[in-house]
C-alpha cells in the first residue's frame, strides 16, 4: 500500500515537472490532467475518498475548460511571436531571469520547512468530531456531517464564491452575444468512437450523480461531487449534439434561487440550534432528511454553476 503511494507521488512530481518542460499547449494540458488524476489516487491512498472524488471530477472539468479555451493556441509553440520584440527580450540577463527567482524560492521554501511545527499535534478536535458526530449531526460520513453541520458557514461562503465567479465571468467576458449562430461547429474533427462512448456514458453520469448525492451521508460522496457529475452530463450532451439550446438566464435564476434557499435553511438551522444544541428533540429520520436535502441543494447549485461556466466558455470561444 505504502509502496503504491510512493510510486504515485513519483508520477505526480514527474507529470508536474513535465508541464514546465513541455512546449506544446495541448501536451501541457494532457500532462496536467494526468497530474490531477494521479493526485486524486494519492488522496484516496491517504485516506480521504471524498476529496479524491472531488479532485478527479475537478481535474476532468478544468481540463475540458482549458481545451475549450485554448483551442486556438494548440498550433502555437511556447514562444512564437513577432521576431523583433523576441530578439530584444532574449538579450536580457539570464541571471536576472532564472537564477534570482530560484534563490528566492529556495530561501522561502527552506524557511517554510524550518518553521514547520514539530510532529506532536493536538488531536483534541479530531477526537471530539469523530466520537460525537453521529449523535450531534447524524449520518455515517464524518466529512459530510462536518461541512453540513459543524462548519456550515464554510459551505455557505464556498457557495458564495461560486456565485461570485459566475457573475465575474458573465461580466468580464467581452462579448454580449451569448447565442451561437446556427450551423457554426467546432473546428476539432469529431470521432465516431468518442461520440458513441459519450452517448453510452452520459446517462450513467446523471444516475451516478443522483446516487452520490443521495448516499452522501452514508458513504463517500456528497453535494459537490454529485453536482459535478450532473454537470458533466450536460457537457456530454453538448459534445454529442453540438447544439446550444439551454436558456442560460433560467439556469442563472435557478442557481440564485437555490443559493437563497441554502442560506435560509442554513440560517434557520444554525440560529435555531436545531441540530446540536437540542439533540434529544430530533430523531435520526429528521437528521437524515436534513442531510439529504442540504446535499441535494448544494449539488443542484454546483451543477448549475458549472453548466453556466461551461456554456459561457463555449459561447466566448465560438464568437
Amino acid at each position: 500500500m505504502i509502496n503504491i503511494l510512493y510510486i504515485m507521488l513519483f508520477l505526480w512530481m514527474l507529470s508536474g515537472v513535465l508541464v514546465l518542460i513541455e512546449k506544446k499547449v495541448l501536451s501541457m494540458i494532457i500532462w496536467f490532467f494526468i497530474f490531477s488524476l494521479v493526485g486524486a489516487f494519492a488522496f484516496f491512498l491517504l485516506g480521504s475518498p471524498d476529496v479524491a472524488m472531488a479532485e478527479a471530477a475537478i481535474g476532468a472539468f478544468s481540463t475540458i475548460v482549458f481545451i475549450v479555451c485554448f483551442e486556438k493556441f494548440f498550433k502555437l509553440r511556447d514562444i512564437i511571436q513577432i521576431k523583433a520584440e523576441e530578439e530584444e527580450i532574449k538579450k536580457e540577463n539570464k541571471i536576472k531571469r532564472f537564477i534570482i527567482p530560484c534563490i528566492f524560492v529556495l530561501i522561502l521554501g527552506s524557511m517554510f520547512i524550518y518553521f514547520l511545527p514539530p510532529e506532536t499535534t493536538n488531536s483534541y478536535l479530531k477526537e471530539l468530531y469523530i466520537t460525537r458526530f453521529m449523535s450531534d449531526i447524524g449520518g455515517e460520513n464524518a466529512v459530510t456531517s462536518i461541512y453540513l453541520g459543524y462548519r456550515l458557514y464554510d459551505t455557505l461562503f464556498e457557495a458564495l464564491m461560486l456565485v461570485i465567479a459566475v457573475v465575474a465571468i458573465t461580466h468580464m467576458s467581452y462579448t454580449d452575444k451569448i447565442q451561437i449562430k446556427e450551423g457554426e461547429r467546432s473546428e476539432i474533427e469529431k470521432s465516431n468512437i468518442a461520440n458513441l462512448l459519450l452517448r453510452a456514458l452520459a446517462p450513467m453520469a446523471i444516475l451516478f450523480g443522483i446516487y452520490v448525492i443521495a448516499n452522501g451521508f452514508l458513504t463517500a460522496g456528497g453535494g459537490f461531487q454529485g453536482g459535478l457529475a450532473i454537470a458533466s452530463f450536460f457537457i456530454c450532451r453538448f459534445l454529442i449534439y453540438d447544439v446550444y439550446d439551454l436558456d442560460m438566464k433560467k439556469i442563472n435564476k435557478l442557481e440564485e434561487l437555490v443559493f437563497i434557499l441554502i442560506v435560509v435553511v442554513a440560517a434557520v438551522t444554525v440560529f435555531q440550534g436545531t441540530l446540536y444544541l437540542f439533540p434529544e428533540q430530533y430523531t435520526a429520520m429528521t437528521r437524515n432528511i436534513y442531510l439529504i436535502f442540504m446535499n441535494a441543494l448544494v449539488g443542484l447549485k454546483v451543477a448549475c454553476g458549472f453548466i453556466i461556466l461551461f456554456y459561457r466558455y463555449v459561447a466566448i470561444e465560438r464568437n
Binding site: M13, G16, L46, L106, I146, I169, M172, F224
Partner: protein, 121 residues
Amino acid sequence: MTIGFGIVELVSIIMFFFSYYAIIVSRNMIKSIIFMSIMEVSVVMFWLSIGFNGNIVPPILQSMEGHSIENIGDPLTQGLMITAIVIGLSVTAVNTIMFLTLYRKYKTTDWDIVKKRQMAG
C-alpha cells in the same frame, strides 16, 4: 523521522515551491494558469498528509470501526479541502477569462510582450 514530517509532506512542499518558481519564470500565460492549479493541488496534498503514518482509514463508520483514533483520517481537514478544491476551480475559471480578455486586447500569450505593449500604450 527526526525532521518532524513525513515524505509525503516533503514532496507536496517541494511541488508547491516548484510551481511558485514556474509561475515566476514562465513567459507563457497558459503555463502560469495551469501552474496555479498545480499549486492548489499541492496545498491540498500537504494538508491531507499531516499525521499520515502509513495506515489511515477514511472517517466513515463502515471503515473506521475497530481502528484506534490515530489511524482515522482527520474529517475536519477533509471537509475543508473539498471546499478549497471547488474554490480553486472558480479561481481557475476567472483566471482563464482574464487571459482571454488580455489576449483579445494585446494579441499575444507572452507576459513580456504584453508588458512592452502596455508601456508603449
